[in-house]
Structure formats: C-alpha cells, structure tokens
C-alpha cells in the first residue's frame, strides 16, 4: 500500500478527477454512473481517513508533503502539504462528497454522468486548493473550481441558471485576476512560487497594503463578504441542490481559508491596517444578512442570506486577531458546512416533491412529514447556534475572541453588534420554520407528500451525527488546529490566550476596555 500512502495527498486529490474523466468517457449509462460516482466518493473519503488517523496532532507544520520540481528549474513545483487547518477542511470536503452524490439520486435525471463528473471534478479542485503549497498550483486549483460549478449551475440549474452561473463566474474571476497580479509580483520578488519563500519575503509597508487588498478582494468575493455578496443568493437559488450543498458546504470556505492561509500571514501590515474595516464589513454582513434573510419569500434564498450572516462571523473571528477567535472561525467553517449543507439538502427534499420553495406555498408540513420536520428542526437549531450543536462552539469562540481582542480597534464594539446576530438568527429561522411546518396543513397540494425516504435519511443522518459530535466534543477539531494556527499566524501579532506579547506592547491594565480607548486617544 505504500504506493498510496507515500503519495496520499495526490491520491486523495486526483482520485475524484480520474473518476470524473471516466464518467465523461466510459461510464456514461445513468445507473452505472451513479454507483460509480458513489464508489469514487466513498473511496476518496476512506483515503482521507488515512490522513485523519495518521496526522500528528502535536505538529503545526505541513505533513504528508509531496514536492516535485515542475517548471523553471523547480521555481514552480508540484508541492502539496497538509496541516491541521487543511486537514479539517479536507475532511469536511470528502465527508460531504458521498452525501452530495447520494442526494442527486432522484434530483438529477438528465445527463447524469456529466453532472456527477462535474461534482467529482469540483471535489478534486477543492481538495487541491486545500493541499497546494505552491502558489501557481494553488491558483490552478482555485480557478479550476470555477469551471465545474459554472456548469453545474448553468446546465442543471433553475429558470435563470445562465444569469446566475455567469454572475458567479464573473464575480469570482474579477477577484482572482487581482490575486493573480499579486502572485506574479511576489513571484518576481521571491524567484519561486513556493509559499514558504513568499512568507520569507521582506515586503515594504506600502506594498503589503496593496498586495493584501488584492488577495483579500479575491477571497472576500468568495466568502462572500458584504457588499460583494449579491452573486450568492442568485447562485444558490438557481443551483441544483447538490450544487448548493457544495457551494455552502465547502466552496465559500475557500474565501476564509485563503484569508487565513495566504492573505493574513503574507501581509501582516496589511492585516493590521485593514482589520478594523474588515470587521466592520463582517458585522454589517452578519446583521444585514440576517435582516434580509428574515424577509425572503423563498426558503432557499433565506438560507443563502443566512450564509452571508454566518460567514460574517467567520471573518470577524479571523480578523479579531486573537487565537481563540481565529480557531473559532475555522471551527465555524465546519459547523456552517454541516448545518447549512443539511439545510440545503432539506430544502431540496421539499423542492423535489413540490417544485417550489415559496414559504407561502407551505404550512403545517409537520403533520404529514414528521421525520422531515424533525431533521429540519435539528438543522435549524444547529444553524442558530444552540449549545450542544456545533454552531455554538464556533460562534462562542468567535464572539469571545472579538470581544477580548486588544489588537484591533473597536473589536469589542464589533463583537457586541455581532452578538445581535444570535437574536436575529433565531427570528428568521424559527419564523420560517413556523410558517413552513407548523399550523394547519392549508395547501391541498401538500397533502399526502411522502416523508423522508431511507436514502434521504442516509444523507442527513451523518450530518446530524456530526453536528452533535462536534458540539459536544469540539476538541476533535480544536486539538488538531492549535499548533497549525500558531504556525500560520506566527507572522501576525496575534493575541494569544496568555497575551504576554500584548501586555508588553500596550499599557498594562487589567481592563482591556481601557487599553483600547487609550491607544485610540494617542
């Protein structure tokens, strides 16, 4: 087995790609294609389990590294590696893979092999993005994610799929172009595309600000951060269920992952300069996303706007510049992947039955579909951060981090404002739940709808199990993140939990409120 384990990252990344190619060429019959895609997705998950169990928790550097010189005498290399941050996101990706494939069983009936091929292709690109430690390689994977998603929305999407697909494509492209310019600039400085070489560069203050802005823009669009979010509701509403699940589950996290992996450690001065403003945008996103979600007549659009709100939390956590906040941010990426992934799957369930997602079409669904109502309730509670479920840990750490941040101006105020999201989340989710599931079964079209099938339960149960598991045992993830976060954020002046660094640099006071005010006054 050593030919696999020695190149495990390559296997994990390219197995789905190989599957995609075979789906487009050989395995084209519908029934075969489904089983084949499922097998590939499962196999990839099993392979990734090797990463999970052989990951050295105590280390923060890259593990399972593969590096082969590729172009220009090794200035550009095929360089994969995985630290704790990549690990948890990779596990999320491979875990969602089979569930996504299984969810398409009834939902996708046209050009099935083509669709599943794109799903696997997308998975490969996402995994590659998490593993890449060479900036060109990263950029290739990053861009490669666009194509399959573009087709998934554009071909298998709803009424206005083309508009949504193109909007998605252009938004992301625009951001990426700026990042590409930044990458090339850094390459010319470093003489290599290696991330480590980039990190070792001494970049001037001015340049850091510009470069940070370029990278950040690309990532902020992907997140999406307010006010760059308007592609997301369209993309979600038009995308088929599987597309939405991948989009919300993993693709959005590319933005926050990119910030943490590249934009933040490469340009600490950019971070220091922009962090207060970014936090403001994050908080606007949290509140604005929630308020707009509240008034959506379409369930899927509501969930889409809720993502804007939730990802605002992640960004706030990262730019709290505290170790707790950043860890909470990464944790929230997972929690959101599980809860919002589940919500999109659940919306898909009712869409398959009724071909509508308008809240006003429903009401009283809990009568005929008790299982469905129960799963929806659990996903709702996970989404609004009920303790015991994963979302709480992330939100708590993020808000706590931001609240206690002394490194970023107004961070405490931002945390207080962001905490209103806790109230707003309950309002829009429970109100939607009430209108869809409770009350009398008013609409005759909803009578006799079948409850969840075994297949649908099989898709949802793993998600629910992990919502609880991570909610009760967050250490599963946090233990693996600690050393890696420490290493990644080393270039930044991070407020560690024992914050000796900060106390020496600012006036030592017991009360952080005064610390912030004092520094502002100067």
């Amino acid at each position: 087995m050593s030919f696999i384990t020695d190149h495990i990252l390559t296997w994990v990344t390219f197995l789905p790609l190989a599957g995609a190619l075979l789906l487009w060429t050989v395995v084209r019959r519908e029934a075969q294609a489904r089983i084949f895609a499922m097998a590939i997705a499962l196999a990839d998950f099993v392979l990734s389990l090797h990463l999970w169990f052989h990951f050295d928790t105590g280390r923060g550097d890259d593990q399972f590294v593969e590096r082969v010189a590729w172009l220009f005498n090794g200035q550009i290399s095929y360089h994969l590696g995985m630290d704790g941050i990549s690990l948890v996101l990779v596990m999320l990706t491979t875990f969602l893979g089979p569930l996504v494939v299984l969810s398409t069983w009834r939902a996708v009936t046209e050009r099935v092999a083509g669709f599943l091929g794109f799903v696997l292709f997308l998975q490969a690109a996402m995994l590659g993005t998490f593993f890449a430690r060479d900036m060109l390689l990263f950029y290739v994977f990053w861009e490669a994610m666009l194509i399959p998603m573009y087709f998934i929305i554009g071909i298998w999407g709803g009424q206005q799929r083309i508009y949504a697909a193109v909007k998605f494509f252009i938004f992301t492209m625009v951001g990426s172009v700026f990042m590409l310019v930044g990458i090339i600039y850094l390459y010319l400085q470093a003489g290599s595309m290696n991330l480590t070489d980039f990190l070792n560069l001494q970049i001037g203050h001015e340049a850091q600000l510009w470069l940070f802005a370029a990278f950040f823009l690309a990532f902020a669009i992907k997140v999406p951060l307010f006010p760059l979010h308007t592609w997301l509701p369209d993309a979600h509403v038009q995308a088929p269920t599987a597309g939405s699940v991948i989009l919300a589950g993993v693709l959005l996290k590319m933005g926050t992952y990119g910030m943490l992996r590249f934009a933040m450690p490469l340009f600490p001065e950019g971070v220091a300069y922009f962090a207060p403003y970014i936090n403001i945008l994050a908080v606007i996103g949290i509140i604005y996303g929630a308020l707009v979600a509240m008034v959506q007549p379409d369930v899927k659009k509501l969930v889409a706007y809720s993502s804007v709100s939730h990802l605002g939390f992640v960004v706030l956590g990262l730019f709290s510049l505290t170790s707790v906040g950043i860890a909470g941010g990464v944790f929230q990426m997972l929690a959101h992947g599980l809860s919002t992934g589940a919500l999109f799957l659940l919306v898909g369930v009712i869409y398959e039955r009724r071909h509508t997602r308008e809240v006003s079409e429903f009401g009283g669904l809990a009568h005929g579909m008790p299982l469905y109502a129960t799963f929806f309730m659990i996903a709702t509670l996970a989404s609004i951060g009920l303790p015991g479920l994963a979302g709480f840990v992330g939100e708590f750490m993020i808000l706590f981090g931001a609240f206690s941040s002394q490194a970023v101006a107004h961070a405490r105020l931002m945390a207080i404002l962001a905490a209103t999201g806790v109230v707003l989340g309950a309002i829009y989710m429970l109100w939607m739940y009430q209108r869809v599931f409770l009350g009398k079964l008013k609409n005759v079209k909803n009578e006799g709808l079948p409850d969840l099938s075994l297949r649908e339960m099989a898709v949802l149960i793993p998600l629910v199990v992990f919502m609880f598991w991570l909610g009760v045992r967050p250490g599963l993830v946090l233990d693996r993140l600690g050393p890696s976060l420490e290493k990644v954020t080393a270039p930044l002046n991070i407020q560690a939990d024992d914050h000796h660094i900060l106390q020496s640099s600012t006036t030592a006071t017991d009360n952080p409120v005064f610390v912030i005010r004092n520094t502002e006054g100067q």
């Binding site: 083509g114 308020l291 708590f396 409770l438």
Partner: protein
C-alpha cells in the same frame, strides 16, 4: 470508592432523563402511549432518587465541606480557554435539584392522566424528559458555560412544548415568541460571560477552568472593577428567562402549551433559572450595589405591575401566568436586597404552590372540556372536590396566609427588604401582596363558587380527574401547606433551617464584600442580624402581622366583590369610562407597543429598504449590472451557451488545461 460513586451519580442525574427522552423520541409512536409515559416517569424518578441520595450525602458532611463535583471531560479546550464538561453540587444546587426532579416527577405522573388521550404523547414525554435533562444541566453545571447550555436547552424545550399542539398557529407563534424574547436576554447573558472571560483569562492559573464557579469566586477581586457591568448584563439574561420587565411578555403567551408544561416549566422550575443564576453568582452581584439596586427595583416593579394585570384577566391560566411573573418579581427583589437564601426559599415554596395551582387549573380545564375562560365556569367546588380543596391550599399559600408555605417565604422577603432600608420597595411588595390575595380569590370564586355558567353539553361532562392527576395535587397541597416549615424564622421560634442550609453558599460573599466594598455588606441580609436585635424582633412581629392581615383583607375583599356584591365588580369595570379596566385587560398594551415600535418597523426596514433598495437596487442594480463590461460578457457567454454545445465546452476546457499543463511540464 463509595464517595466516588456519589460523585459519578451527578452525571447520571443529568443523563438518565436524556436517555428517557432519546428512547421516547426515537421509538415515538411505536411505543404504546402508556409505556411512553411510564418510561419518562421512571427516568425522572431515578433522577429524583439519586438527587435525594446525593442530598443526604451532602447533609452528612460538615457544613463548610458540602461540595461534590464530577468532571466528565474537557468540553472546549483551546489554549488558556479551558471549559470543562462537568457537574457539581453544593447546598444551593442540591435544593434546586430536589425541586426540579421532585416537582418534575409529580408533574410527569400528572401528565400520564392529562395526556392519556393525546396521540402525540410519546413526543410530549420526550420533550418533558429533555427538559429535565436541560434543567439539571443548568442546575448542576460546574461552570457558567454549562449553566448556559442548560439555559438554552430549557429555552428550547419551552419552545417545543409551548408549540406542542402546533396545529394552532397561535401556539406556534407563542413558542417562537418565547424563544426569541429569551434570546434577547441571552444576548446580555453572552456579553456578561464575555466580559467575565476576557477579564479573567489573563489571570488564570494553570488548570483553572475559565467560567468555573469556584474559579470565578476565587478571582472576585479581579472582576470587582467591572462588577456592575457584568452583573447588569447577566441580569438582562435573567429578565428574559425569569420574565421580568421588560422581557416578561413571552410568559403569559407561553400558557398556550399543555398545562403540565405551564406548571413545570413556566411556573415551578425554568422561570426560576434567572433567580438561581443570580444566587449562584451572589459573590459577584454583592460587589455591585448599583446592580443590586436595579435588580431590587425591577423585581418590585414587576411584582406590582404583573399583579395589576392579573386583576382583570379572564383566562384562568393567564391569571396564574401573571401571578407567576409577579412572584418571580418577589424573588428578584429578595436577590436585589441581598437576601439570596430567602429568594431561593421562595423559589421552593412557589414551586410547590404554583405547580399545584397550575395542575389544579389543568384539572379544571380538563373537566370543562378544555374551556379556560372563567366567565363560563363557576360552581365546580362540589363536582371537583379534590381539585377544589387542593386549589384552596395553593391559593392560601400564594396569598401568604400563615402557616402555609408562601407566608414564610414572602414575609421573609418583605422583612429583608424593610430591614435593609428599602422602605419604598417594601411598600410596593406589600401592596402587591394584597392584590395577589385579591385576584386569587377572584379566580377561586369565579371558578369554584356560584352557579356553573357553561353550556349544558359541557356541564354534563364535568367530572373529577383520575387518580394520576389528583395524587400529585394532594402531594403538592401537602407541600404547599407544610413546605415552608423548614424555614420558620427565629422570631417565630423556628430554626430557619433552610437559610442555615444555604449559609455556606452565601456566607462567603459577606467576607468578599467586607474586603472590597464595606457598603455592600449592609445590603447583604446577614449583616442585619446583629445590632439592634430586640427592636428588630418587635418590628418583625409587627410587619408579619400586618402582611398577614393585609392578605386576609385581600381575600375577603375578593370574596365580597365577586361572590357577594357582584355589582361592585361591574362598577369597577366601568370606572373612569372603563379605560382603566381596558388598560389592565389589554395588559397595558405592551405587546402592541413592541409590535408597533420595533417589530413592524424592523420588518419594513428589512423588506423595503435593505432587500429591495440596498441589495437589489444599489448593490446589484447599479454596481453590478450597471457595469458595461459585465453586460457585454454576459451577453456573449449567453450566446455561446444557447448553442447547447455544453459538452463541447466542458471537453475543450479540460483538453485545454491538459495541453497547457503538459506543455509546461515538458518545456520546463
């Protein structure tokens, strides 16, 4: 070994009801209804039995050493942020544990009868067990974050149970309202926790769990400068859960849930969580005289405010609901004047008599074919003798008539308020006590006396409830009568054992307070004990006599107005053109004010301004679509797409990338 077993019992006290909930939830309708109920009762019964064992173990220990803890594992551990998943018990949580599992057990039994005909009963019992699990987490959690887990958990159960009969949209709306209003409180609670955490984190020693109650107590000095902010934020949380002004509005609506739920969650246990939290953190609260004053004032105002609303309600459960709000106000008042032990004493006696009253009202509603309007009741005294007599016991206890339970706790609260120098607050509490007696007598008369005003159809079905329902009533009646005797104050020749039992929990604060703020020590109840003891005792006698007389007068007035001289009641309603009555009937229009001032404008802002104008109009319309580049690109790509050669594009893309990669690979 033996000691270890008792400690491990803590986790099982919490987990057994969870197992009951899981079994009932997963098997659901596959379980016969009776089995579901018995399963749930057994789970809570086991919890109760274990709570008694642990209590006895504590009682056998020297007073200062009464503490057991059971740490299961680390919950959130990241750097210095260490929060354990663990449980602990001391005299305070032991009392709460006994109340929750004990009263909970009785109400589970009652529910066997009450829910016998409901086909959703496995779901009901699952929720009820889940509630006990959450409430016990709240009570036994060893740190503030665990308490918060329980805090949110009971909120969830409350939501699920209020909207249990979800076919009626009003019930569903009431459930959501309860959850959302509680979340507003939780917003304050969270910020309070953050303030504690961020202040404390730099000062923690190795192995000290952040938020652990003992650690917090150990570091009170560090928190002292921020005590007012911390305590007020936490108190916001308490106003949500314990239904104080301005967040009390959810509790009356919560009566939409099945009556056993009103008794257990919305009267006896969950709503007292705010009081428990303040008592639990008494060492922090005493550091802030300002926060204590706010709590006392809010408590007193809530007590009188809610009791005036109760005067005019026609729904039997609404009267009891506002009465609960009012009584919670008394508990807060007690905490606010530093008499935490007395506040908890009232938590206990109130749990007995209010659970009794709610269950009694349930028995009435059951007999009246689900009618809740007292205007069509009457004369049930003879048909429901057990319900009637137990209800009378509860009423007298609530009205504060000696020697029933409510007398001792309520009188003690008023006394502590007076003796700590809060004469005005005492007067408010005193006034509310009279109103309480009055509205309770009104309720009793309208329900049990006179002629029955129901339709013949309903009348023919009136019957006393089955034994599963009446036995809990009798047990609670006994507790409502005698439950206060554990706290008979010294001046009446009692031993005040209840206060003594809680002393180890609340004694340290006096020390902490003296070290830091001398002024606070006076606020704390203990400080008053010495000094002019003799004149105090005289005063205590006078006040107790006054409040007893006042309560009896209230009852008498209620009886006269509603049973004898009914004309007076109608005169009351027409007083001042009828608007004072309308004001009370419509609960001072507070819901309408919130609706008009916050909710509707909020929705309008979100829908018309944020979504339509900002999102679709400005951001998307002008910034995005307005860009000529975008339009051009969209157009050209659209045309390509419409050729329907999708596969061709997919292939050409893949091919292109492959060729490019190969080219680069071999050319380099």
């Amino acid at each position: 070994m033996e000691s270890h077993t008792t400690e491990m019992m803590l986790r099982w006290i919490v987990v057994v009801p969870l197992l009951g909930a899981a079994l009932n939830g997963l098997l659901n309708r596959r379980l016969p209804r009776q089995v579901a109920g018995l399963l749930a009762c057994t789970a809570v019964g086991i919890s109760f039995a274990m709570s008694v064992l642990v209590f006895l173990r504590l009682a056998g220990m020297p007073a200062e050493a009464r503490f057991l803890s059971d740490t299961v594992t680390t919950w959130i551990g990241f750097g210095n942020l260490q929060v354990d998943l663990g449980f602990a018990i001391d005299p305070l949580s032991a009392v709460m544990a006994l109340i929750v599992t004990g009263v909970g057990f009785l109400i589970h039994i009652y529910s066997l009868g009450y829910m016998a005909h409901d086909k959703g009963s496995p779901r009901f019992f699952a929720y009820l067990n889940l509630f006990i699990f959450a409430m016990m987490t709240l009570v036994l959690g060893e740190n503030l974050l665990m308490l918060f887990v329980g805090w949110e958990g009971v909120g969830l159960c409350s939501y699920l149970l209020i909207s249990f009969w979800f076919t009626d949209e009003a019930n569903a709306a009431a459930g959501k309202k309860a959850f959302v209003v509680n979340r507003i409180g939780d917003f304050g609670f969270l910020l309070g926790m953050f303030l504690i955490g961020s202040t404390l984190l730099p000062h923690l020693g190795a192995g000290e769990g952040l938020f652990n109650f003992q650690v917090l107590q150990h570091h009170t000095g560090t928190l002292a400068p921020l005590a007012t902010a911390i305590c007020l934020l936490l108190f916001v949380g308490a106003t949500g859960k314990s239904a104080q002004i301005p967040l009390y509005i959810w509790l009356p609506d919560a009566m939409a849930g099945p009556t056993p739920v009103s008794a257990l969650i919305h009267a006896a246990t969950m709503v007292t969580a705010g009081v428990y939290m303040i008592a639990r953190l008494n060492f922090l609260f005493v550091l802030s005289p300002a926060a204590m004053t706010v709590i006392a004032v809010v408590g007193a105002v809530t007590a009188i405010f809610a009791s005036t609303i109760a005067l005019a309600q026609n729904d039997i459960k609404k009267v009891l609901a506002y009465s609960t709000v009012s009584q919670l106000g008394y508990m807060m008042l007690a905490c606010g004047v530093g008499a935490f032990a007395v506040g908890i004493f009232h938590v206990m006696t109130h749990a007995f008599f209010k659970a009794l009253l709610f269950l009694g009202s349930g028995s009435v509603i059951h007999a009246m074919s689900d009618e809740q309007d007292m205007r069509v009741m009457g004369g049930l005294r003879r048909k429901l003798p057990v319900t009637f007599w137990t209800f009378i016991a509860g009423t007298l206890a609530l009205a504060g008539i000696a020697p029933l339970a409510g007398f001792f706790s309520k009188d003690e609260i008023l006394w502590k308020t007076w003796s700590s120098g809060h004469t005005l607050l005492w007067a408010v509490g005193f006034l509310a006590a009279g109103l309480t007696a009055f509205y309770m007598m009104r309720l009793v008369v309208l329900t049990f006396f006179g002629e029955n005003r129901a339709s013949a159809e309903v009348k023919s079905h009136i019957h006393e409830s089955p034994a599963t329902m009446t036995i809990p009533l009798v047990v609670l009646a006994i507790l409502s009568i005698a439950g206060g005797w554990v706290g008979i104050p010294h001046f009446l020749g009692g031993g005040a054992q209840f206060e003594q039992w809680l002393e180890p929990v609340f004694a340290q604060h006096a020390v902490a307070a003296e070290a830091g703020h001398g002024a606070v020590a006076q606020v704390a109840g203990h400080a008053v004990e010495h000094g002019a003891e003799h004149s105090d005792t005289t005063m205590e006698w006078i006040l107790a006599g006054a409040s007893l007389t006042w309560g009896l007068l209230g009852l008498l007035a209620g009886y006269l107005v509603y049973a004898r001289k009914v004309g007076i009641a109608t005169t009351f309603q027409k007083l001042g053109g009828g608007w004072p009555h309308r004001l009370l009937l419509h609960k001072y229009y507070v819901d309408e004010i919130y609706e008009g001032a916050i909710i509707r404008p909020g929705f309008r802002l979100s829908r018309t301004v944020l979504w339509r104008v900002v999102d679709m109009g400005i951001i998307d319309g002008i910034l995005v679509k307005g860009s000529a580049l975008v339009v051009a690109v969209v157009g050209s790509v659209l045309r390509l797409f419409q050729n329907g050669l999708v596969r061709f594009y997919a292939w050409s893309f893949t091919l292109g990338v492959t060729v490019f990669v190969l080219y680069l690979s071999f050319s380099g």
